[in-house]
Symmetry: C2
Subunit: 196 residues, 2 copies
């Protein structure tokens, strides 16, 4: 079996194609593991956070938001870009939750980082579970070009929707399945403690 | 609450920025729901398939592949781009599984379509569960610029790795959690039938 080192591709030249507001596109020439040359088209992105806001009764705050690339309204958990690469992920998650839903959370748990499209984008998204929610008296305050509606759906129903293929957004599917697993694990833990 | 129609953004002008091999980048001017104008940077992508190849003993074929945007080797399920927009997804999945792992599968189940990065990419990926695996006598036959290693890891161990944040690739996390849920559901179904 090849070692990780033997799979590595090395950049030999990089050309910036587009320096946009959200996307930064590069066309890099590379040396493949077999010594031949190749090309990689890469989207550079500042990174993002996403949040599954969970009430004690199992309700989850989700959003309906128009997604231009798909020309359709998608059901998604709250999420947003970092202000810059160095921004603290938790601070960004707290800001996005408040802005998009008008809620604060007292308890935050990181559910890890994921790469949405590792073949062509360097974007990393940190996922959070937000609990002990309380409303911001000022309500929500969206960015100027942001339009979305918020509703509350039970985690069990969301889980069924994911399994039936009714929620196409990857991060939302992932957060729902992960949190559902976490809640099941907590339940088992509690029942073991009650038994023990 | 706003209706879906009231969230819609309308394209008023579209400029092609880059027409690459994998990525096609556009900078579109749009009309926002409030009548103001805005800009959307959009990656157009042909679409892809991914496959979780599952043996009867719970083993899963996974790959280690260098991902240039992240400058690291990632653990992923087999996946690949469609040859063109109209390609049959199942045929593409069967081809990619054979090419990358050297296995055929007799039983295929679609686990639905997901959008990896709906904020800026139109890519859609259809996910499959592949079962009743049998080796291709010719072994695997990778694309010229493709270098990866294949190994077998049990679904339960993969599930723990996902929950511990050890598998950053989104589609791989998603497939593992989805298939694990499906297998648990099958087990419950069988035990209900045995009881009934």
């Amino acid at each position: 079996m090849q070692s990780d080192k033997e799979l590595k591709e090395v950049c030999t030249a990089s050309a910036e194609i587009f320096d946009g507001v959200v996307l930064h596109l590069y066309r890099d020439e590379i040396r493949l593991p077999n010594g031949q040359s190749g090309v990689r088209e890469v989207v550079r992105h500042v990174g993002a956070v996403c949040i599954l806001p969970l009430f004690a009764d199992g309700g989850v705050l989700v959003e309906r938001q128009f997604r231009y690339p798909h020309d359709s309204v998608l059901l998604e958990i709250p999420a947003g870009k970092l202000n810059d690469k160095r921004e603290d992920h938790l601070a960004a998650a707290q800001r996005e939750l408040d802005e998009e839903t008008g809620y604060f959370a007292k308890t935050w748990t990181s559910l890890g980082i994921f790469y949405p499209a590792p073949a062509y984008a360097d974007e990393q998204i940190e996922m959070y579970l937000a609990e002990d929610l309380c409303p911001d008296a000022r309500g929500r305050h969206l960015d100027e070009d942001e339009f979305l509606t918020v509703e509350k759906i039970h985690i069990d129903r969301l889980c069924e929707m994911v399994m039936r293929g009714e929620i196409p957004d990857a991060k939302t599917q992932l957060a729902i399945l992960k949190v559902k697993r976490l809640l099941d694990e907590r339940k088992r833990q509690l029942s073991r403690e009650a038994d023990g």
